[in-house]
């Protein structure tokens, strides 16, 4: 796997000063900026200097904006080293004490005495780390992302809305309108489709990526030019579980300025939550070869080629006995079918391993109960129906059994 090695900046200092905090204790040491080494070595070093050899740790650092970001693989480790200016402040936390949701914007400035936490820190027993995931906590649920920034004109924005399994309505309206295009014959007025209204509290509004009067250019990669309002409506609704709209924002001042580098937050660092999303999705798209080597228990949030095949959309079949399960695809010639797929609605498929991760959509109450559910599924041929029903209902899938 090709690593995006950051060339150290033109800073003269070759040593990075590290201040590592674990509980009330501090350790100071330095690392060579040009040769930071691998993350697992670094992890071992931290355990060593803090004298906690058998404690599972979550490692976080404060970036230049004061945000607390995790270090859990080579990439973000290198990023942390390369951006340390000059001091790299580390925050260590026992994994079992991890406080969820502390990473992110203003997390440090807001909570001065925060205990470092992260969610996506790699479990200890799994020594072989995932090759591409940088910093997307697996229990985080993507809500929206800006994608394909590298291939789109800067005046356009491709926004992906993740509707799966959540209660929030998509919440927007579209209308007919006319837009002006530059053609060889000069300016030409052409009919277009525009966002006419955002429902307060809806998904579209909450992302902040769509606005009233944005012109809709594409829906899931298909141009809307020449299509009627009703057609575009139907296309959007048909793709509502995974809606990707390319818009020309009415307000062109907030466009993403392309940084030229796909990883990390890039220039859109003003909102690190979003920017990390876009970065990650960019990775998801570009790392086709890597996808195959992802361990099965890791649910890939951005399966390769998801644009083309929405395998996440699975129908549900209830057999006569009342046993409900999503309809699985027959192993076909589809090259992607062997990949772990995103399970948006129901996690009741017969689990292949007991560590099968469940929480991707975040709607199940705790991961504990759902994994026990999959255990039941795996071990008992006739599962407890009542329990299944309960979980089905909790999942928001409407089945009247």
């Amino acid at each position: 796997m090709n690593k995006n090695h950051r060339v150290p900046s033109s800073r003269s200092l070759n040593a990075v000063e590290v201040k590592s905090k674990f509980g009330a204790e501090f350790r100071r040491f330095s690392l060579e900026r040009s040769k930071p080494g691998r993350f697992d070595e670094f992890y071992g070093l931290l355990q060593h200097v803090h004298r906690i050899p058998n404690v599972e740790l979550l490692v976080g650092y404060a970036d230049v904006h004061g945000d607390l970001l995790p270090i859990n693989n080579d990439d973000n480790y290198h990023k942390a080293i390369s951006t340390a200016n000059p001091l790299l402040r580390l925050f260590l936390q026992r994994k079992e004490e991890a406080d969820h949701g502390t990473f992110g914007t203003d997390s440090l400035t807001r909570k001065k005495n925060t205990v470092l936490s992260a969610v996506l820190l790699r479990p200890d027993h799994n020594k072989k780390k995932p090759p591409v995931i940088i910093s997307l906590p697996k229990d985080f649920r993507p809500v929206s992302s800006i994608i394909d920034v590298d291939i789109l004109p800067e005046t356009h924005r491709r926004v992906r809305l993740y509707k799966h399994g959540q209660e929030k309505p998509l919440g927007f309206y579209i209308r007919d309108g006319s837009s002006v295009r530059v053609t060889p014959q000069g300016l030409e007025k052409v009919p277009g489709i525009f966002i006419s209204r955002l429902v307060p509290g809806g998904l579209a509004e909450s992302t902040g990526l769509l606005a009233v009067n944005d012109e809709v250019l594409e829906v899931n990669g298909i141009e809307v030019a020449g299509k009627s309002l009703d057609q575009v409506t139907d296309m959007m609704i048909a793709n509502s579980h995974n809606l990707i709209i390319t818009v020309k924002p009415a307000n062109q001042r907030n466009n993403i300025v392309r940084s030229g580098v796909g990883g990390g937050g890039g220039a859109a660092s003003g909102s690190s939550g979003r920017s990390s999303d876009s970065g990650a999705s960019y990775y998801g798209y570009s790392s086709h070869s890597a996808a195959a080597s992802i361990p099965p228990h890791i649910i890939q949030n951005f399966p390769v080629g998801e644009l083309e095949s929405d395998e996440d959309e699975e129908d549900l079949v209830i057999e006569a006995g009342g046993e409900a399960e999503p309809i699985r695809h027959v192993a076909s010639n589809h090259s992607m079918s062997s990949l772990p797929r995103y399970e948006p609605h129901l996690n009741l498929r017969t689990a292949t391993t007991s560590t099968f991760s469940i929480n991707t959509n975040g709607t199940l109450p705790t991961s504990g109960s759902s994994s026990s559910l999959s255990n039941i599924k795996a071990t008992t041929p006739s599962p407890d129906r009542a329990m299944e029903r309960g979980s089905l209902e909790e999942d928001g899938t409407v089945i009247t059994l």
Binding site: Y173, S228, T233, M235, I237, D315, V317, H345, T397
Partner: protein, 869 residues
Amino acid sequence: MKRFRRHGQESQRDRLKQELFAFNKTVEHGFPHQPSALGYSPSLKLLAIGTRSGAIKLYGAPGVEFMGLHDENAAVTQVHFMPHQRKKTTFHLFSLKQEAEHVEALQENPVDPDQVIIGYGRGLMVIWDLEKKLAIQHIPATQQLESVCWTEDGKYILSSHSDGSYCRWMVGGQDTNEEEKSDIPYGHFPCKAISKIVQLPTEEGPPFLLFSGGMPRASYGDRHCITVIHGKKHVALDFTSRIIDFFVIRDGPEHTEPSALVVLVEEELIVIDLQTEGWPIIQTPYLVPLHSSAITCSHHVSTIPLKLWERIFAAGKHQNAHYSKKPWPVTGGQNLAPDPPQRDLLLTGHEDGTVRFWDASGVCLYPMYKLSTAGVFHTDADPNDNMNQVTEGEWPPFRKVGCFDPYSDDPRLGIQKIHLCKYSGYLTVAGTAGQILMLELNDEAAEQTVEAKVVDLLQGQEGFRWKGHTQLDIQEDPVMFPAGFQPFAVVQCQPPAVVTALTLHSEWKLIAFGTSHGFGLYDYQQKNSVLIKCTLNPSDQLAMEGPLSRVKSIKKSLRQSFRRIRRSRVSLRKQHLQEANARLEAELAEMELAPVQRKIEARSSDDSFTGLVRTLYFADTFLSDSSHNTPSLWAGTNGGCVFAYMLRLPSVEHRADEPVTAQLSKEIQLMHRAPVVGIVVLDGHGAPLPEPLEVAHDLARAPDMQGSHHLLVVSEEQFKVFTLPKVSAKMKLKLTAVDGSRVRRVGMAWFGSSRTEDYGESGLLVLTNQGDVHVVSLPHVKMQVHYPCIRREDVSGIASCVFTKHGQGFYLISPSEFERFSLSTRCVVEPRCLVEAPLHSGCSNQHQSQPDGHALLNDESEYKGRRIS
């Protein structure tokens, strides 16, 4: 290397597609919408009808038809056949028009072509000599002129006037001020204008005098009448709609004997036999008004077995006893089309509770038989309301003619679904008020007690109260039914909502029906209910609103006013127009306030009408294990849900007494939740299962029960193939997500190759809400071809579309006309005909229709009025 091969396969497939599929609109069936002019050529024996949209349609012998369309949507006001290329007449018409004030009428002297009579609006008539270019005679009528005509011998001129009078004037060298005869036929009180008058001599006996209009203004001013007077016989033919024009066909050795009166009224064409006592109507072989009562649904059955065909034909014969025995008098041209390869029936359901059976095998959509379901119910219809009755001693002596009667007595009678089994002759029809009738073909009239079964589809679901119409009252006493399809059982759904899905399995003797509340399975042999399933969603309150609840009152009052008074038509129309305008303005105002916008929201189970049953399907397939096939019933709902029931049928010897049972076997919820519009099981070869009894009659190959079966679920948005018995998704084709169109109609069809007789494929015919037709291959659900077919704004056209099993289809282009189209290269029904024009001016005189059945007229015809092209 691989690429090359694939490319080769694709081009081979493309070639095959060309051999299998081709899109053609072939023929228009029915009566032209808004006709505006009528013409007839006695020499060619061709009839021409012009319409307000600028179409000219020519008809001759059955099967001979041509159509031409003006470039612009300009109404055709007059149609004239110009015999012998006498173009100078036209020339003079225009020159005369320029010099005079308001020419109302212009007629050539039948004896001396140099003389024409010109009638001016104020009443003055002038006989003009074209050769000498001077007026021969002035006739000063005092009343405003409506029409003039010469008598056959050229000795008299008849004029008709706006006050309901007509006059006969002697043609002589001298100017006279005296009319030879003057009469106001329906006089005393003020009368309406006589718009056209014709007098025709007979070989022996008195002449025929025919005129339109002239009715007493106050009492019968709203009637559309043509009066025929022949000796002592005097009849005022009372038509169903406004008279456009009429002419008389004459035969006999000299072609002078009036034989048939052809009348074009706004909604139908009527031909009256003037040579048979009682002047009966000659049934038209084409131009039959499909909309005599509004069409509410249609059902096509291909390849009818001869036996059933003959029985239906015989039943229809009984109904047509009152028609004239004379052959169709318009006989021009030659029908060159080969005999249709098969017998096809198109069944149309109507708002008045009738089902009409049309011979749809060829170019002429010919009415075969009419079934009325109203007799099963108590309705407020007047049983004595016979359209053809003559009341003795009435003046004017009215006689009602025509079948156009759009005012339904009870909209609940409307037919919504039809299913005919062509092998057993069992028919099931379902209507607006939740009624499902089972009918059986009987060659004799018979008295039947119709057994009713009420089925509660709510199944105790609480919190629902039906707000729609009530059910129809079923006649409890035995009812006499004429020969034909006779009902023997009625299932009444409760609530009495519109039946939205219906299917029949004549081998198992079961019918399945569905409404917006649920579905049921009924055993028509034992006459009991096998299964009832409520599909209502708790949030589905809208389903409790009947479709007629709000419309009904207006409609009923309208109907009553039309029925009882039948006079305020004009004023009502005006009122309607005003109402419509007001509504339009209000809508426009609203639009300006709030721009049209569409909500983008994922479909949820809370949407209304999710429980509405869209499709029902019987299949003998592998439902629970892969070694035993069993009968099954499949139902698909608006909410994207599919239910599958395993059916247990008793053995044949115990079929009458042991119960049929149904057990829920599978329930599939499509995640995209789009309405399920079609369910088909494909056999081991990927071919759709044959129809019931098809194999038993040796008309289809037995399905492959060895290989694994597949389930094809067609939703409005996707085509999905699942394995059976374990339901696993295998293939899918997405439509809406890709191009924004939705499936409106889907049908299974067989396409034969045009190149080789022995190659063919099954495919899915699909019509989208955009009006496009697609062919989707089976079992791989791949898009094959697509063509634009219907304008996407034409919602009623799209809703009316029906597919045949051989790749053809029909849709309504107006309330009264079906357009026929074909997607098959092999199965194309289109007019092929020849008209030989008499020799003149040395020009070509053969007009063979184009392969598409449309030929433009040239030298035979002249379009006047706003003439284009």
